[in-house]
Structure formats: structure tokens, C-alpha cells
């Protein structure tokens, strides 16, 4: 089953409901309601957390620097960042880049969606509270440093499209088998799987919840190769497609803010 979170005209709170197989309507049990124009809210209501350095390729790219200042040593715990509420937008959002940024990274990732509070999970039970999976597109202003990049590079308004759907985990194969395809203006620019992870989904959840709980509606991304993904500019249309999960689209507004 796939679920959408949509805003119906005149309602102030989005509703979450299963979508019809074509993805165009939600099924409220008796009524089938078409998703209105611009109706997709961020697919989840909670917090979004992303891991840094969770691909072996990214780790290897930075490994030469890890012994040097300012890093000094490789990290032992998961390195995480926030995409706070002001960054969350739904499918088909129109997003305004910060005035100072020419381009933004297209950090497509799968996101694990939690259905209840999860703390001190073990790798064995870590996925028990994961309801499903969604697509997260982390739009970040590129920075070569991973020491203390300015918070605004990841936290500008609208920098985290999420959706369009949450797909039940039980309906999905091993997540490392899913391919994320990123298109800019219709051209395929990036094709990746979450293969070669430093922490696979279960170990990531276990190691993160060792120090911070995740709650209902929260999303934990699996990560993307920061600094090694395509970028986009004002006026571009972006589409991230994952088999079984759907396609998350957004447009970067053309005019300077």
C-alpha cells in the first residue's frame, strides 16, 4: 500500500490516506477523492534527519583528510544533520533558491518513515517500527568542508521535498536493491542505489537511536554522496524516480528572490 499526505481545499490540516494505484486519488474508505492541484503536502509530518558519510564511496573520498585538521580522526558514531520543518515541501513544489546560491546539490535518498517512538533499538529489531519508505531530496548549497558548514546551506526554506508517497516496507524488496534515478529537465543525471553503505538501514537506526529517539512521522534518510552528486540551478525541473515508490518532482523558481 502507498499513502499520500494531501491538503484538501479549505482544510488547514493535511490528511494521510492510501492512494489509488494510479497515484492520482486518495481512498477514504467510501469516497475516492482526487488529489487537488498543488495538494501534495510533505509526505510525513515529523522531523527529517540525514546521515553524512554513510556511503563507503563518500567515506573513501574523505578518508585522506580524516587524520588531518580539522577532522583529526574518523567519526565513530553516525554523523547526522537536520532538515527542519521550514525545509519540508511536498511533491510538485516550486522552490526559491537562496539569493547567494547559484546551484544546489541534488541529494536524493530513500527515507525510513517511523510509526512510533524508537529508542535504543538493536539491529535485530531496528526496522520493526519503520512503517514505510519515502523519497527525500536534500537540496543543499555545496560546500567542500564537512567540518562546520553554515546551517543555512541545509536549512533554507523549501530545501527538502519529501514524497510523493510513503510505501509500506513490507511491500518492498531489500532497500539496497532500489535504484534512485534523478532527472533534470528530463535528462537522467544520476542513477544510484544505496549499495555499499557504511551502516545498512538496521545498523543506522540502531546506532542513531542509541543517543536520540526517533518518533512517529519522523524520517531517517539513508544518505547521499555529499559533494559528488549533480547540481541544479534556477529554472530547472527535477524528478527523482524510484521503482515502486513513485516519482518526486519539484521546480526551482526561475527568477532571483
Amino acid at each position: 500500500m502507498r499513502y499520500a499526505r494531501i491538503t484538501l481545499p479549505g482544510r488547514n490540516t493535511p490528511i494521510t490516506a492510501p492512494v489509488t494505484p494510479d497515484g492520482l486519488s486518495v481512498d477514504l474508505g467510501g469516497d475516492i477523492v482526487p488529489v487537488p492541484e498543488g495538494g501534495f503536502a510533505p509526505a510525513i509530518p515529523g522531523w527529517v534527519y540525514g546521515p553524512l558519510l554513510n556511503e563507503r564511496s563518500t567515506w573513501e573520498r574523505f578518508s585522506d583528510q580524516m587524520q588531518d585538521k580539522p577532522y583529526v580522526a574518523p567519526p565513530t558514531a553516525p554523523v547526522l544533520y537536520f532538515k527542519p520543518q521550514n525545509t519540508h515541501v511536498g511533491h510538485q513544489a516550486r522552490i526559491t533558491l537562496p539569493a547567494y546560491a547559484e546551484r544546489v546539490e541534488l541529494g536524493a535518498s530513500l527515507g525510513l518513515v517511523f510509526r512510533r517512538q524508537t529508542a535504543h533499538a538493536t539491529p535485530e529489531n531496528a526496522l520493526d517500527n519503520v512503517a514505510g519508505v519515502t523519497i527525500v531530496l536534500d537540496l543543499s548549497v555545496p560546500n567542500d568542508s564537512i567540518y562546520r558548514p553554515p546551517v543555512q546551506e541545509k536549512c533554507w526554506d523549501g530545501s527538502c521535498p519529501i514524497g510523493p508517497f510513503v510505501t509500506d516496507l513490507v511491500d518492498l524488496p531489500d532497500l539496497t536493491q532500489l535504484t534512485l534515478k534523478t532527472y533534470v529537465n528530463g535528462s537522467l543525471v544520476d542513477e544510484r542505489r544505496h549499495a555499499g553503505l557504511v551502516r545498512d538501514p538496521a545498523h543506522l537506526v540502531a546506532d542513531v537511536t542509541a543517543f536520540m529517539a526517533l518518533s512517529e512521522g519522523d524520517v531517517l534518510m539513508l544518505g547521499y554522496p555529499v559533494g559528488a552528486v549533480p547540481t541544479a540551478k534556477r529554472g530547472d525541473h527535477i524528478r527523482v524516480e524510484v521503482e515502486r515508490l513513485g516519482a518526486l518532482e519539484c521546480t526551482l523558481a526561475g527568477e532571483q528572490a
Binding site: V79, N86, A119, Y147, Q152, F211, M212, A213
Partner: protein, 253 residues
């Protein structure tokens, strides 16, 4: 007005503190020791400031930053007044940080510093614990150090902005087991409240209930299980927290 959120008799209430008495909306006045104090706002996006006092920058061997060094906290790290915070067995150096907390009251985007106070709902006291041996130099300060469950204490209440004449001239102090260990004044912030609101709202929309923790002065010492830590901001409040070890935390709280 001092405004608190408390749990009492099976429900969560908005409460006021009037003449040192807790008063619920319906007039009940429960004993302050018989209620559970929640953070005065339900945490939404919270910013904290690293090394925003010149003396603390020196203490940590940093030079004062040219732009605010802001980082974010999630909801799970917050606790209210009179709670306990866990010191994990492998913590080597765990310290409090007494901070003035600014609570946003109106949606704010691109607000000039001159107008910034119009967007403040009120002020509270925060104690932002850090475990320094968990610090790692990637996306500093890392979440394992600064977003740990139960390691950011806020309260006991929010004081309305109108009742704080000059938020940039408040003494802030920390006491461990009654002994003063930290003292400073908000006038020594590198970036004051108006500048922080201008800076943060320049790149993101601030919303009602968002919080800015404005940093801490020097005077950090290691705290151990059993220590009572009181953080105090002049005219705002006195926030109490107790450190416990793993055994106590997992068995009793």
C-alpha cells in the same frame, strides 16, 4: 506573566505563575512540587549558538566567530524543570551550559535587527548539556553531543517579552550543589538577540514556538551523578536539573 506547561491530574495544562503560585486556567492551584513541569513550549525548530560569548570562546580555544555559529536541535532532547538527566557511564567530561532562551511569537522572514524584538513571544532559561568526549569533528557540533535525548533542559516557564525590560542585560549563573560555577551577563554575547533574529530569518522562516538558545559564558565544570544543577537567568527563572547515572536512570525515571 510567567507561562508554564505542566502535567497534572492526568492532563497537560497551560498554567501561569502568579505570586509564586501555580494557577491553572480553571483557577486550580496545585502545589509546584506535585506537577510535572514540561518545557514551556512544545519544541519545534530550535537553534543553539556555539561560542556566542567571547570569554567562552577563549575558554574553548576558539576565536570569536565572524558570523553566528548556529546549529539545530530536535524535539527529543528537551526536558522541563525538575527532571533528571543521564550521565552515561562512558562520559568523561559532561558540562552544563546556562543560556537565555528566546521564544519566537510571530512568523518572521528577513526581519531587520531594529524590528526583531517585535517577533519575540518571551524568554526562558535553558541548560544545554554537552558531553565533550563525544564531540567529533564532522558537522560540528555533532548530534551525539548536542542532540542527546534529555540533555537540553528548558523552563520552568516562559516570561512574556513585555516583562523583560532589557534582555541584553541579564545576569546568568549556574550553581552545582549550591556552589556558583558559572557567571556572566547577556550583554557579553558576541551576537545579541536582535542580530540573531535578523541572521536566522535571513535564510529561513521562523515560526511561533521556534526557540533560539543564545549561547553560554565561560565557567564549565564536569558534573557527576547526584549533582544538582541550577541554571538561572535574572528576572526570567531558576531551572533545576539533577544528574543521574545509568543505573538510576534506567530503573527509576
Amino acid at each position: 506573566m510567567k507561562r508554564a506547561r505542566i502535567a497534572y491530574n492526568g492532563a497537560i495544562h497551560d498554567a501561569s505563575v502568579i505570586d509564586d503560585r501555580l494557577v491553572l486556567a480553571d483557577g486550580r492551584s496545585p502545589d509546584m512540587d506535585k506537577v510535572v513541569w514540561l518545557p514551556p513550549v512544545q519544541p519545534r525548530t530550535t537553534f543553539a549558538l556555539a561560542i556566542n560569548y567571547a570569554d567562552h570562546a577563549k575558554e574553548l580555544a576558539f576565536k570569536a566567530p565572524e558570523k553566528p555559529l548556529a546549529f539545530i536541535k530536535g524535539p527529543g532532547t528537551f526536558l522541563g524543570h525538575n527532571a533528571v538527566t543521564r550521565r552515561p557511564a562512558d562520559a568523561q567530561f559532561m558540562h552544563y551550559e546556562c543560556e537565555l532562551a528566546v521564544i519566537i511569537g510571530r512568523t518572521a522572514k528577513n526581519v531587520p535587527a531594529a524590528d526583531a524584538y517585535d517577533f519575540v513571544a518571551g524568554y526562558s532559561v535553558a541548560n544545554d548539556y554537552a558531553i565533550r568526549n563525544y564531540l567529533e569533528n564532522y558537522y560540528r557540533p555533532n548530534l551525539r553531543t548536542k542532540n542527546r535525548d534529555g540533555c537540553t533542559v528548558m523552563g520552568p516557564w516562559m516570561v512574556d517579552a513585555a516583562d523583560v525590560a532589557d534582555p541584553m542585560n541579564l545576569d546568568i549563573r549556574t550553581f552545582v550543589n549550591g556552589e556558583q560555577v558559572q557567571a556572566g551577563n547577556t550583554r557579553d554575547m558576541v551576537f545579541g538577540v536582535p542580530a540573531l533574529i535578523e541572521y536566522l530569518s535571513s535564510f529561513m522562516t521562523l515560526s511561533p514556538g521556534d526557540v533560539i538558545l543564545t549561547g553560554t559564558p565561560d565557567g564549565i565544570v564536569d558534573v557527576k551523578a547526584g549533582d544538582q544543577v541550577v541554571t538561572e537567568v535574572q528576572g526570567v527563572g531558576r531551572l533545576v536539573n539533577t544528574i543521574v547515572d545509568d543505573q538510576t536512570y534506567f530503573q527509576r525515571s
